[in-house]
Amino acid sequence: MPHRRTGPLVRMVVILMAGLLLIAGCAPARNATSPAPEASDNEPVAGGRLVVGAIADAKVLNPVLSSDVPSAEVWGRVYESLIKVDPQTGAPTPRLAERYEVAPDGQRLTFWLRPGVTWSDGTPFTGDDVKATAEAVMRSKKTVRKSIFQDIVGARAYGEGKASTIEGISVQDNVVTIRLEKAFCPAITEIGLFGMIPRHVFGKYMDGQDASKNIDEAEENNAPTVGTGPFIFSEWRPNDRIIMKKNERFAFGGPYLDEWVYKVHPDTTTLAAALKTGEIDAARVEPKDVEGLQQSDHLAYFSYLAPGYTYIAWNQLRGGKEFFQNANIRRALAHGLDTQAVIDSVLLGQGQKVYAHTPPVSWAYERSALVEYPYDPARARQMIEAEGWKPGADGIYEKDGQRLAFTMYTNSGNKIRETLLQVATEQYRQIGVEVTPRTEAFEALNERVGKSKDAVYGERGGHDYDAAILGWSQGVDPDAYGVWHSSQIRSGQNQVGYQNEVVDRAVETGRTSCAREDRLAAYKAFNTQLSQDQPYNFGFAVNTLLFVNKKFQGVAPGPFPNVQNGYLWNVEQWWVKP
């Protein structure tokens, strides 16, 4: 499934250093000698150290056990995956597999491994390592990654100890074939982007016959000994730094840098300060710090939309708040909120309005298919009145003794969401809708939205909230079954109780008809329906704001695969201009 479409709205601001080069060229010393040819300036040279700054430390350096972004940023440099993706489009590109194929029925994946790839200790990388990775996941008791491999034929049986190997993965020479129990189009990127771990290191912790043995306690989880990536692990000082050295056996060209350092600065303000002083070379920052950092001549600025969005969920299965079941009321709520004002005030313009689920940067996004809801309070009022609501004595709409009033939650400490909550409360008041704003700890909100049952609707009902401001961060594949299929209302992530046949069919097709045009059509229908029905106020997507020291060449960030591995996807190509 080659995806080859640039997201139409990818915004990328690159500050070029052409001016600096010109100045250097004019230096008198250079004039005295014969000037070096232009081309040699752009020839990568080896050496140097990159210090990457982040606000949180990695947790565990093994893709099987990690579930957080910092860990992935580090192990992503150690363990390569079968494929990579184009950072601008999310389209798969070759890596450990030089070629890959998805069978038309979506039930078989084939990877042709690139010959000559070795681990950093010289051991060849083979299909058996792919198998070892899947086995390690299925036998792990602490992993939260099983969903990626569990649909492979025999994976469950292996995990439970009923088989001594995963039947559905066969390796012949350099060809790995993976059979799935059912068609699942996202498998190519889910399995393809998973970091491959070495059999010759982790094999000793596993035993095909004994399902109780697993890699969960392996010491290599915190100190990888070998890798296929551009850097190999050297030292970890918890909550301070992780140091990695160049892998001399790296198979994909480069790396040019000698050393790669992951440095933790937990405070965003001092993280920005460290960028300014040059203590760190690259970091993602918050909107408030952008202006100050742009004044530093030695920093290049990149801003691009991240796949994901912040939204307001309307709980349709909430006892006493049945008005959320009425699509016209939800549409009125869409017209009644000036999302752009929030983008401008909190994100300082570094974001974009969103109208449906698929990220604007995805190959599966089609803006023309979407219904937009411009800010129009008068129209919002008309739409509410058309449904038979009348303003009460306090200006809030009423119908059959029920007030158009509800509580809106978000998690405390998230400034963007708290501002949206505040703006929504004020603006909805102006269209006769009363919002009671509430913030609570992320853990508590997570529990409220994810688990609890509604008092009125009971088992049939959804979750313990009226409305909530939440967010999704999204990956490469447009699959949205878990969030929007009607089967996911009670146990899945469809926490608003949305049910629509067109959407159900579209997200099913998106998982089972793997031809690109089939999926495109399916997600187009899906997004159109969502934008019409407004089960969320889809809110906005925010930009990733990145600064990198200008001395580094070859920096080419983009929205994909997502924040994980983000801008570091090609760090082996980075080099320092002398």
Partner: protein
């Protein structure tokens, strides 16, 4: 005496149990469990898989059972494994504690070295301009929030003037024993951390010294015609310091528990951040490990204080 120490020891151990039970229960009663926080936002998991992961992390059982299991392991010397970092808690504390000791030890030293003379001076020059100036400093030290002071330090001395690094313990690439580099990294956090201590000790000392100055033996010493400095140092300060040393009783715990705010601002990898992060992630083996360590030290320092009291004043052991 032995009976007294024994009784206090038993009390301390019982208190420690109480603290662990209370902490364990409170941590587990707060909303959200570590596993759901771990999977929040990641791929969909089946209910069965989620339940299996809860079993693997030991968070599926009733809280009393979990506590007993933790207690059994702890008594055999095993603090367990961090849920988040998947490595032994003892190893994590072992790697973090020395960092905190460097910072808090130095900050305490600075606080005492500055606070004690200032407090004494303020008392000796009571009502003078010097006293007023010291009082203003002391009030400011109490009132200024450390995170603000820390940020101010970073923005002024690290970013504008480039005198010191922004944060961390050591320049990347520098040798562990590069003392100049280490000191440059210590200046900001030590000054920020010691300010509150300076303010405290100054006020404390001033009160105590004034108290002692009113004593008869001071008047006698002066009447004997001793030099004012001799009176101040030998008669006044020595006696005024005794209660200060008592007040240091809880210091052992403060020294190891670290300061979240200062560590956060200066990117210092210490116990405060370790504890805070563990609390956020409900990483209860780590929380419990830190709690056991700090409360044991606190109880130990109280015990030592009580024993010393007992030696000095026989009446204490009978109460």
């Amino acid at each position: 005496m032995t009976r007294f120490i024994l009784r206090r020891l038993i009390q301390a151990v019982l208190t420690l149990f109480g603290i662990t039970i209370l902490t364990f229960t409170l941590v587990r009663l707060a909303p959200g469990d570590p596993v759901s926080l771990m999977v929040a936002g990641t791929a969909e998991m089946t209910a069965a898989d989620l339940a299996a992961v809860r079993v693997a992390y030991g968070v599926d059982e009733p809280i009393p059972q979990q506590y007993l299991r933790w207690l059994g392991r702890m008594l055999s010397g095993d603090l367990g494994q961090s849920l988040l970092y998947k490595r032994p808690v003892a190893q994590m504390i072992g790697a973090t504690l020395p960092n905190t000791l460097q910072l808090s030890g130095l900050a305490l030293l600075v606080a005492l070295l500055v606070g004690v003379p200032l407090g004494t001076l303020a008392a000796l020059r009571r009502g003078s301009v010097v006293d007023q100036a010291i009082r203003i400093l002391s009030v400011a030290g109490h009132a200024i929030p450390p995170f603000w002071l820390g940020l101010l330090f970073v923005l002024t001395f690290a970013v504008q003037l480039r005198f010191f690094p922004v944060g961390g313990m050591l320049t990347i690439g520098a040798h562990d024993w590069d003392l100049g580099d280490r000191l440059a990294h210590l200046v900001g956090p030590v000054l920020t951390l010691s300010l509150a201590g300076i303010a405290n000790y100054t006020r404390y000392l001033r009160t105590e010294v004034l108290d002692v100055l009113a004593q008869d033996y001071v008047r006698t010493a002066r009447a004997k015609g001793l030099h004012a400095r001799t009176v101040a140092l030998a008669h006044v300060l020595r006696n005024a310091l005794l209660p200060v040393i008592t007040a240091l009783g809880g210091i052992l715990a403060t020294l190891v528990s670290g300061s979240l705010v200062v560590e956060h601002v200066f990117a210092w990898p210490g116990m405060g951040r370790l504890t805070f992060e563990a609390a956020r992630a409900k990483d209860y083996p780590v929380i419990m490990g830190v709690v056991v360590l700090t409360s044991a030290l606190l109880l130990l320092s109280y015990l030592i204080r009580d024993v010393v009291y007992g030696v000095v004043d026989p009446r204490v052991s009978r109460t």
